[in-house]
Amino acid sequence: MTAALSSISPLICLGAAAVLVMLLVALRRAYTGMAALTLVGLGAAFSTLPLMVDSNPHRLFFLMLNGYTAFYAGLLILASAACVAFTFSYLKEFERNREEFFILMLLATLGATVLAAADHFATFFLGFELLSVSLYSLTAFPSMTQGHIEAAVKYLVPASVSSAFLLFGMALIYAWSGEMSISRIGHELRAAHIHADYQWMVAGLAMIVVAMGFKLALAPFHLWTPDVYQGAPAPVTAFIATVSKGAVVAMLLRLFTPAEIQTGSTLFWVFGFMAALSMIAGNLLALFQENVKRILAYSSIAHSGYILVAFLAGGARAIEAVSFYLITYFLATLGSFGVVSALSTPGMERENLDDYRGLARQNPFLAAVFTLMVLSLAGLPLTAGFIGKFYLTLAGVGAALWPLVIILALTSAMGLYYYLRILVALFVLAPSGGDRRPKPPLSFSNAFVLTLLAVLLFWIGVMPAPVLNLVRAMVG
């Protein structure tokens, strides 16, 4: 029992940190202390990840504990730590209760980690719900403007519908196969089409894909994305765009990799259609936006589409490409929403393109970081985004997914336009009359995390080998 508990100690750390913060908040509200404790909890969870890798047996408590899980759990925990750091200065001037934010963040991270580790429908669903339920409250957290509430409702309704879909899909698959273990279902999937009553499985899978497509913001399930990204507080937007997505990607790979989706099968068409539609819709719709958060939202829809291209390529190479791409996507997305959050307060999000005019003169550091992040999202050379996209394309070409690869290339080129619009806004002069808004000073925590993200982004862009080897060793 002790050995079993030690191999899930990252989860225990996250849960214990949440409960500890809650109990301490009941005694005394110490904002800085609680933020520090949250980071300590996340750090403890991260440092116990090796125990997860060494776990023997690999299946415990309906979780799959191996290098793959540890890799994704580590990625999610680090991303969450960055979001906590952004939150710290974002909520600094907030006058109402703010310590609850950290409790919810820890619980959401716990949910995401469980989702990434789940090997059973029970843990899958619980992780999914824990993530969603914490995010509802996080989205509405400041409730300073109608926008927060509106975003929370717009997230709540589709998210609960997608949970219902997920549950129904699980029920159908269980009814058909009598199986709740994710890895065994994956293997059943490979042989499933020889059975006559295969349609039960297809119906169940379709429902699960709908639920996952919702969380991944894949077209045609993306309609909530821009509104929620815009209305949510900037650190929460960063969390939704990275942690929530990353956990579902981990689950998607775990569920469908053993199925070995063949070119031309039903699943292939479904995912191929969603990938193509996401790339096209995301990049096209982003062209018409005047709001930075909405542009980034549409860009994240497009990025989900890119990820699906490599996912469809299948095999070990695909898992590597997707995992590596996810690192680069996490860095750039966290960085860009980090800049937005550094410039925003709960009552006043700085989100319109016009608000960013002249930023290069006002705050050269933030403008430089933002430039690097946007270039990486666009996939230009010397940034991590380029290497990531290169591997995605390579995986796609290796599996001869020509239509998808061509769409990827064309839509990426199209995407340059709106990424460049952000850059142009940063470097043009501020409109006459100057900036009307007070600019919050750059806090140490924000500066530290943003510098770290920028350095990593550049380092991976120039020298990807160490990170690639790490990904290969953990995920392969």
Binding site: R96, V133, Q146
Partner: protein, 176 residues
């Protein structure tokens, strides 16, 4: 055996449809209770009397009573007396009554030994052993899920109250 299941299912589907189609929230809640009761009957038929009992006690009992109270409190106002009167006509309660009567008839039939589950019965003891044996982590995660909901409800409920006290007028978009 199957016919009992289908009857309960039809009741569940009709009641749930009525929840969505009813305009009056209290009427909708009445149907929701019937829908939950029919689920309890289905659980019972499947050989899970413990789950059925929990469904009745927790959902149809505690939570629904809470819902009904909240909705009735929200409806307080000058119109409430008229509404109270309008709740009484027979057509309001006749639908839920009919559906629950079907369920009751079914339940009595089953209790008199009219049909076993066909599967083994799951006793409360077995449920407990499963929850604190193989499903230990899942149980703990469920408690974390409740914690998350609780904290969210506490924070958001509280935040609104303060906002309303500080701002006398209706909340407006804070665009300068």
């Amino acid at each position: 055996m199957n016919i009992l299941f289908y009857m309960a299912s039809i009741v569940a589907v009709i009641a749930t449809l009525m929840v969505i189609l009813e305009f009056n929230p209290v009427h909708a809640l009445l149907y929701l209770i019937v829908s939950l009761l029919s689920l309890a009957v289905i659980f019972f038929l499947l050989g899970a009397p413990f789950a059925a009992a929990l469904e009745v006690i927790i959902y149809a009992g505690a939570i629904m009573v809470l819902f009904v109270f909240v909705v009735m409190m929200l409806n307080l106002g000058p119109r409430s007396a008229d509404e109270e009167r309008s709740w009484h006509p027979a057509r309001v309660w006749f639908g839920p009554f009919l559906l629950s009567a079907a369920l009751l008839a079914e339940l009595l039939f089953v209790l008199r030994g009219g049909g076993g589950a066909g599967f083994g019965e799951v006793s409360p003891e077995e449920v407990g052993i499963a929850l604190f044996g193989p499903y230990l982590l899942a149980t703990e995660l469920a408690s974390m899920l409740l914690l998350s909901g609780l904290i969210g409800a506490y924070h958001l409920g509280r935040g609104y109250g303060e906002a309303r006290r500080h701002e006398p007028g209706p909340v407006e978009e804070s665009t300068p």
